[in-house]
């Protein structure tokens, strides 16, 4: 093992392949990763279905509105869908992807044997069970009306404590690996994974402690909640996505990172700015002026790491690998990357006070959230899924047709959704600047865009269904669809 600092690692194309050892690495993490991804996909599909229902409710308020079924009301379904996306799908898939990537990047099996008497598989599977239990119980609680009322943290204290406990189990696994990893030479994707996995307990624990378990005075809750929403995305989910992008794009393209020496700057600037990013949702809000201005500055400065990521990943010479067009995994990764870039630009522009005056609280804010959750986080995780599953199962398992359909439906549905949300935001926001225009009139301007958002959600649901069928065939294909 080369103990000196290896600067050539910026110039390698793949850290994920280790020749003959690769199979045993995959074997070692197969069960936990499959369990996490499998559960995550189910939640994803439920969440996308609920999102469609919500989009329809915006244009037909009476849709699924029954006096005996108050659990189907808009106000209850929104937090359920949002939390399913965040905790049921994204966090769980990030855990699965993170464990697989960590194992491949470390180049050794990470979860196949006992370590100091702890059976690592059991640890990770228990964590998965606990996690899903927390999600189920939390969602049921919101259905029944027992919500905390704090955005993105609606699960009651006992449900979020279950999620936190689950993550602690994963933390134990990570800590057990610490000794052995102490002297390893870490590469960029690994930094992102470590940053993400280390940040999550701190972010989730602090936010729950101060907003759910032992709530602070409501005067200070706004700032903490804003911090949580920003950090959860930028310091937990985004780093895992970036680890996937940095590890898998050069490998798929057959070329190393472009100007890899910039990557550390990108890493540290994301860590620094990501925590402050959240406060941009309170620009102009009931917080001291310096918080608003920090929100503006951090949103604009966030362009720096995004620019670096662009340079690193989009500057790669892709002509060396002509099979790029057929690679679904790569295409999802690139889709994620473009979502991130769009997100950065919209974020920077819409945080400037003059523009925030018009666009805050409109469809543009919602577009940013969708760009984050669906775009910058979900698509790279799909990229990992499409690459990892065959390796974990040891056989080609995806149906090419279904994969293509999933990709195209997701691509079109996603950009249609974003486009319509942005247009809706522009129209309503600019109209609302004039106080003489009645608010209700402005709602009617939004109608055609909301209609198209329903269409977009339909496309996304269709794509999700393609994925659902695809993965069911992949996992149980031999039993359900026996070969002729």
């Amino acid at each position: 093992m080369n103990a000196t600092i290896d600067t050539t690692h910026y110039s390698r194309t793949s850290f994920l392949d280790h020749g003959d050892d690769t199979r045993s690495i995959d074997e070692s993490v197969r069960l936990p990763v499959l369990a996490l991804f499998g559960n995550a996909i189910h939640w994803f599909m439920v969440a996308v279905l609920i999102s469609l229902v919500l989009a329809i409710k915006l244009i037909v308020p009476g849709f699924l509105n029954f006096s005996w079924a108050n659990f189907l009301s808009y106000g209850r379904l929104v937090p359920i869908a949002r939390d399913l996306f965040l905790y049921g799908w994204a966090s769980q898939a990030a855990l699965g992807a993170g464990i697989w990537l960590a194992a491949r990047l470390a180049g050794r099996p990470l979860a196949s044997t006992r370590d100091r008497g702890v059976h690592l598989h059991t640890l990770l599977i228990s964590a998965t069970v606990l996690w899903n239990l927390g999600v189920v119980l939390g969602s049921l609680a919101i259905f029944a009306g027992y919500t905390t009322g704090v955005e993105w943290l609606e699960y009651p204290g006992w449900a979020s404590a279950t999620l936190f406990l689950s993550f602690l189990l994963i933390g134990i696994w990570a800590v057990l690996l610490f000794d052995r990893s102490k002297n390893e030479d870490l590469k960029v994707p690994q930094w992102y994974l470590i940053a993400g996995f280390c940040s999550f307990p701190w972010i989730y624990g602090t936010a729950n402690l101060l907003l759910v378990w032992k709530p602070l005075s409501a005067a200070s809750q706004g700032a903490v909640q804003a911090w949580f929403s920003g950090s959860f995305l930028s310091l937990w989910l985004l780093p895992v996505s970036l680890a996937a992008l940095y590890a898998m794009i050069p490998r798929a393209l057959g070329s190393p990172l472009n100007r890899g020496s910039l990557a550390p700057l990108g890493f540290w600037s994301i860590l620094l700015l990501g925590g402050w990013n959240g406060i941009q949702r309170l620009i102009g809000g009931p917080v001291p002026a310096w918080m608003s201005s920090v929100g503006v500055v951090s949103s604009v400065l966030f362009l720096i790491p995004i620019l670096i990521i662009c340079i690193n990943l989009l500057g790669i010479d892709y002509r060396k690998n002509p099979r790029v067009g057929r690679n679904v995994s790569l295409r999802f990764l690139i889709l994620g990357l473009f979502s991130l870039i769009t997100l950065g630009v919209i974020g920077a522009v819409s945080s400037l006070p003059m523009i925030s005056a018009a666009l805050h609280f409109t469809g543009v804010s919602e577009a940013q959230t969708q760009l984050w959750i669906l775009g910058a986080v979900t698509f790279p995780l799909f990229g990992v899924l499409y690459e990892a599953l065959p390796r974990l199962l040891g056989r080609e398992c995806w149906s090419e047709k279904l994969s293509e359909r999933h990709y195209w439906l997701s691509l079109v549905g996603f950009w249609l959704l974003i486009g319509m949300l942005v247009l809706e935001g522009l129209f309503t926001g600019l109209a609302l600047l004039d106080p003489a225009v009645s608010f209700l009139n402005v709602s009617s301007y939004a109608y055609p865009f909301r209609f198209m958002e329903v269409v977009a959600q339909l496309l996304l649901l269709a794509g999700a269904m393609m994925l659902g069928v695809n993965i069911t065939r992949a996992l149980a294909g031999d039993y359900l669809f026996p070969k002729r």
């Binding site: 027992y146 200070s220 920090v294």
Partner: protein
């Protein structure tokens, strides 16, 4: 940065900056804000909520009102339109939320801002009609009907004093009346108490507002 211990310390320190600024600072500074005394009335500002309104906050949370309605009047350094639209006499400040158990700041204005709805709609009937049959108030509204907050029951003898007066197309069948449940009454009590029309040391009520409405 290429070794785990260095990396971990770096991550810890960088993470700490935003944590200190956006968690520790608000918790310590904003979290220690206390009500100020009201020279005119001898009470305190922001005023306490009555018991029904406190329960109403729970209904506001469980019905998910915060996902369509904000409760923040924006600072004039960003925009005057919130104030000019009549959503408040002055921008909201942190101390305004002191009496809430959860700060329902909101992030989406599919519906109107509600931070001063108690000054705009002063009659409980208006709220009940809006909640039960929003289409009777406005045909263009995206607001769904919260009929689960009401009971449709047979008129026993005389019509109840609490029964809603609804236009014919929304009224229940003859012999039946619509009355609000306790949840609805609590929610409306909470909404009626949403008024930030008082001045605070950090928010002079007259400084940035147009002439106050003459009753």
């Amino acid at each position: 940065m290429h070794r785990l211990p260095t990396l971990l310390s770096g991550i810890f320190l960088v993470f700490l900056t935003s944590w200190l600024g956006l968690v520790a600072y608000p918790a310590i500074q904003l979290g220690r804000l206390v009500p100020v005394s009201d020279a005119e009335t001898g009470g305190s500002l922001p005023p306490l909520y009555n018991g029904s309104a406190v329960a109403g906050q729970r209904v506001y949370a469980s019905e998910g009102c915060v996902y369509c309605h904000t409760q923040q009047v924006r600072q004039t350094s960003v925009t005057h339109s919130d104030i000019e639209r009549g959503w408040g006499l002055r921008p909201s400040v942190a101390r305004d939320y002191l009496r809430d158990s959860t700060a329902f700041l909101g992030s989406s204005r599919i519906g109107e801002d509600l931070s001063n709805v108690g000054t705009r709609l002063t009659n409980a009937t208006a709220y009940y009609n809006e909640l039960y049959a929003p289409a009777s108030v406005s045909t263009e509204a995206t607001m769904p009907s919260y009929s689960d907050l009401f009971k449709v029951r047979q008129i026993q003898g005389q019509r109840s004093a609490e029964a809603l007066d609804l236009p014919p197309e929304f009224a229940p069948k003859p012999g039946y009346e619509v009355v609000p449940t306790t949840d609805a009454k609590n929610l409306v009590a909470y909404l009626l108490s949403l008024k930030h029309d008082y001045a605070l040391p950090e928010a002079d009520s007259v400084k940035n507002s147009p002439a106050p409405p003459s009753h």
